[in-house]
Subunit: 141 residues, 4 copies
Amino acid sequence: MKKPQHVIEFRVRYSETDQMRTYYNSRPLEWFERGRTELLRALGKPYRDVERLGVMLPVKEAHVEYLGRAEYDDLLKMTSTISMPGKARIRVDVQIEHAESGQPVCRGYTVHVVTDLSGKPIRPPEWLVESARADGAQPRE
Amino acid sequence: MKKPQHVIEFRVRYSETDQMRTYYNSRPLEWFERGRTELLRALGKPYRDVERLGVMLPVKEAHVEYLGRAEYDDLLKMTSTISMPGKARIRVDVQIEHAESGQPVCRGYTVHVVTDLSGKPIRPPEWLVESARADGAQPRE
Amino acid sequence: MKKPQHVIEFRVRYSETDQMRTYYNSRPLEWFERGRTELLRALGKPYRDVERLGVMLPVKEAHVEYLGRAEYDDLLKMTSTISMPGKARIRVDVQIEHAESGQPVCRGYTVHVVTDLSGKPIRPPEWLVESARADGAQPRE
Amino acid sequence: MKKPQHVIEFRVRYSETDQMRTYYNSRPLEWFERGRTELLRALGKPYRDVERLGVMLPVKEAHVEYLGRAEYDDLLKMTSTISMPGKARIRVDVQIEHAESGQPVCRGYTVHVVTDLSGKPIRPPEWLVESARADGAQPRE
């Protein structure tokens, strides 16, 4: 049974490196977003559709630990796991490593609140609660 | 009479470099935007106010020539010049060089159409036409 | 024989949008880089290996025409075509459209010189000349 | 005696916004870098010179709390404070608010190790220890 977790692979872009010849420190937050996007799609709820239904998940907090280098074109593997640490907050934990060697690149998390389009906090929709709490949510193929 | 040209100085951010130890090739377009922003402000028409009045200046075309390196923290000097190549288009030419040595970094331009908030082309407002066609003089402090 | 043209599909990231609700104008240059990266990989010469062999292809010129909107998560199709407009220059033409509707998003090109690691122009390696001139190369105006 | 704290003002770039019409969540880490750069310059040790002397301060950890919106061209005020939570680590706490209203935008910190150019941890140079511990250093929880 699948966990509310999702794995994608991607390559480091040249634009994401800096003169230290590794990824610049803000890139993981952009990668985390891709992970969330694909995680929600796998759960059957693409975020663009979620936003169109009037539900937003703005980031309230983000944390990154930098564990190792990653250069241009390196193939990375990112694992995103969703959970609900409280009644109104969503948390996505992310782990990124080199796809082949398993060498760690970084890990971190984002915490999100659930709001309407005007930014007012709302009760998380049922599908989100179920997804985040599921022991075995089935990601859609 | 106001001159349709504006000069600013800025430093290259670490995030703007890449593993070739110079600025990544998309950064000039972000710098050009800063130049336009400050040019319009100097003309007495901050772009944010322009947008609030229902006038947008989306980019239709952009061109960059890369002339030399610029590393992290290098102090650059950017000159932006506005003109109207036709009745409905605005063009901003930009030149970027090292502030001290005058060594060239890049040059290019953006071409903009004038639209309403829905993206429909509109007649350029009078202040814009006058600004872009001015023969020269002093930007406002 | 491989054609010097390559097609990839990708989705617009949230980080690539701006407050006009479409992609920010510098993003195409980052997308073009991804196109070149995959084009060279398809030609059997990943750019990272090329750089390791002491050959660099810095961008000398870039041009973008903005043809239509693309929002977060839109699936885009990018076609990159390599050619050699002269003895020492490489050009990559790029076309980006919505994957399903075929609606145009943008098009443009980058021009590259061939240099050694110190930035000194060198004669393009044979494989590059052959790739760029191979069957299927698009004659350009 | 200089205080290990530094304040700069800057404006939100259009490229830093996203379709939620506020700054994208990775931008604070780029802003934090600007804060560190100007903080070290104010301490008489521009980071580019530090790197040239063979000392690097790679980011090991970063944290951001998002407290409020900031739109294109908003004038923000960023306060960066340096400290040494241990013998080998540097921490920079950052606070960003709207320059005029004082409304909070975000806050966070980065933790850095001190390494040589090869990435090997080294003892922090004396000037850095003194700077981080100087009069005015904020005791942290």
